[in-house]
């Protein structure tokens, strides 16, 4: 697929109720809105699979901020996050043929890949201890990172992000913390229990309840977008 095809592709109209077109769209997927006429993520992925570098450039412009935020949330180091971001987009280019729209959305695939790489990096590097210390400091200053961000008035959130965040910050803080440690720090239930000095069964319950509420909340959100 050439550049012209990617550029000229049409896609979803913004700010309207949209119905995802793929037959096996993930039920909890809440995709960001695109400009009118912009190629969809799937169209860009197909172009990348056909080695269209311009499509990768567009995908980068669209999602570098989201993926870098995710990486930063895991490794807490700006320079390392940027290096890793570059490696991840290179992996997206190299591994694009492994992406299948039957298994999910391009953004979900990229986030899963980025999270795995970031957590691997966190575990491998000696900086783990330093990151842990920084995380500890941040946790003490901002017990709830999601809620803290939600109250920053200077940040103009997109509707999508705002809605997702509303679902997450609606959880009890203990459930948010358990999910945060599991998802962004890659911790097991036992590690979370040890870190938070909480019984293992309580951690499991917090994760189960919190994830179910988010999952159900996101399904409802899809009807609002």
């Amino acid at each position: 697929m050439g550049r012209s095809k990617v550029i000229s592709s049409t896609s979803r109209k913004p700010r309207k109720r949209t119905r995802l077109t793929e037959s096996r769209a993930p039920a909890v997927s809440v995709a960001p809105q695109l400009e009118p006429g912009a190629p969809s993520d799937l169209e860009l992925m197909k172009a990348i699979q056909a080695e269209d570098a311009d499509a990768l450039s567009q995908l980068y412009d669209r999602y570098n901020g989201i993926l870098k935020a995710l990486i930063l949330r895991v490794i807490h180091n700006e320079a390392e996050a940027e290096d890793l971001l570059q490696e991840i987009f290179m992996e997206i280019w190299n591994q694009s043929k492994n992406f299948s729209s039957q298994k999910g959305k391009p953004l979900g695939w990229m986030v899963t890949l980025a999270r795995r790489r970031a957590i691997d990096g966190l575990r491998k590097k000696q900086a783990y201890a330093r990151a842990e210390e920084r995380l500890q400091n941040e946790t003490e200053q901002q017990p709830d990172a999601w809620a803290h961000n939600a109250t920053e008035e200077e940040i103009v959130l997109s509707d999508t992000r705002d809605l997702i965040r509303k679902v997450i910050v609606g959880l009890p803080p203990a459930q948010q913390q358990a999910i945060d440690l599991a998802f962004f720090q890659g911790m097991s239930q036992r590690e979370i229990a040890a870190k938070t000095n909480t019984p293992l069964g309580t951690v499991k319950t917090r994760l189960e309840l919190g994830l179910k509420k988010i999952y159900d909340g996101l399904k409802e959100l899809r009807g609002e977008l």
């Binding site: 570098a53 953004l107 992000r161």
Partner: protein, 78 residues
């Protein structure tokens, strides 16, 4: 394991929060429920997307994109 229990475990599984002994049990149930299980796990991966979208974007420097695209050009020419 009932399918409802499997659904609970699936949400933990996709974020990597199942303990090793739970994974074994989960994989057994996954085989038992077949396509229904795979479909549900696929849906749960949407949680990854949502967690990423919940964060405030942190725009990368322009130099990173330049380096990336230079590497892609080299790879294409190789």
């Amino acid at each position: 394991m009932s399918f409802k229990e499997f659904q609970n475990q699936s949400r933990l599984y996709v974020i990597g929060a199942l303990e090793p002994e739970e994974v074994e049990e989960f994989e057994k149930a996954r085989r038992k429920f077949g396509k229904k299980a795979e479909d549900y796990i696929g849906e749960c991966y949407g949680l990854h997307e949502a967690f990423a979208l919940s964060l405030r974007p942190a725009k990368a420097s322009g130099a990173i994109k330049e380096r990336l695209m230079a590497m892609v050009r080299v790879r294409k020419e190789a």
